[in-house]
């Protein structure tokens, strides 16, 4: 089994991000299940999703070390997606 020796190849950031992603998923799930309806909760759940995809992009796709325009475009996407979906949810 490739076990512990494989961990050598996980950049610390990526490993930490993964833990945060797992935790955030469980938090969203709990929020969604227990607090069903309610505008604030939905906006929060969408925000958590936006933060999660940001981490995937920055630490898994390695955008943290990408040229600034690319990174800015990606972060803009995360923010824009959250804003658009929250806006559509709240105002339609």
């Amino acid at each position: 089994m490739s076990g512990p020796s494989a961990l050598r190849f996980v950049p610390r950031r990526a490993g930490l991000s993964w833990l945060v992603l797992i935790a955030a998923t469980l938090v969203s799930y709990t929020l969604g299940v227990d607090h069903g309806t309610g505008s604030v909760m939905v906006v929060v759940v969408l925000a958590i999703a936006a933060v999660k995809i940001r981490l995937v992009g920055l630490d898994f796709m390695e955008l943290r070390s990408a040229p600034t325009p690319l990174r800015v475009a990606f972060e803009g996407y995360c923010l824009g997606l959250w804003g658009m979906l929250s806006g559509l949810y709240l105002f339609l």
Partner: protein
């Protein structure tokens, strides 16, 4: 004990993959953004129907699928790091495991689909299910393509040396897998949790 990837101390900024990779990835992200928005607009036309239908979904399976994809992405990160350091055996194992995760996702999705249809919640049942099946269906297609891309990455782990262009294609392939993960991270709350 984890260490940073080799040569990560050089602060030069580089595009993951190549330019064209991001033409594709951003293109896909934008189109899915349009898909997500369309879902929200449709939802606003019949929020009660959407909410009632949403609750018939298998929340637990959706959660497991999210965790499975997140883990597969980590495995792909391991594979890339190993490949860059020449640890081809570990890279191959990690890619194979990621492919297994992809297969698991597909199997769970098939289970979800058949179970929903059996309960009378097929694609034509109402607008929620229509969008549910279409959105997750298009995503599932991406997962299948992604598994194909991982299979290609597996063949690349057998090469003793990868040229710069080939390495860029490999990196692009890993980014595509992360995209598949990313899209599901949005789809899961959108379909299963938004009340």
């Amino acid at each position: 004990m984890t260490v940073s990837a080799p040569a990560a101390l050089a602060p030069t900024r580089r595009i993951p993959g190549e330019q064209g990779t991001w033409v594709f990835l951003f293109g896909d992200m934008l189109v899915f953004g349009a898909f997500f928005a369309t879902f929200m607009v449709e939802r606003a036309k019949a929020p009660e129907v959407f909410d009632v239908s949403r609750k018939t979904l298998h929340l637990g399976v959706g959660l497991v699928n999210t965790l499975v994809l997140l883990t597969s992405s980590l495995l792909v990160v391991v594979a890339l790091g190993a490949l860059r350091s020449g640890a081809r055996f570990i890279a191959a194992r990690a890619v194979a495991l990621a492919m297994f995760c992809g297969g698991l996702f597909i199997a769970l999705k098939v289970y979800e689909y058949t179970s929903l249809v059996a309960d009378g919640h097929g694609i034509g049942a109402n607008h929620f299910y229509l969008y549910y099946f279409i959105l997750t269906g298009v995503h599932l297609f991406h997962v299948c393509v992604g598994v194909g891309v991982l299979a290609f990455l597996l063949t690349q782990t057998r090469r003793r040396e990868l040229s710069e262009t080939r390495m860029a294609v490999v990196e692009g392939g890993t980014c595509f897998w992360h995209l598949v993960d990313l899209l599901w991270i949005v789809l899961f709350p959108l379909l299963y949790l938004v009340a």
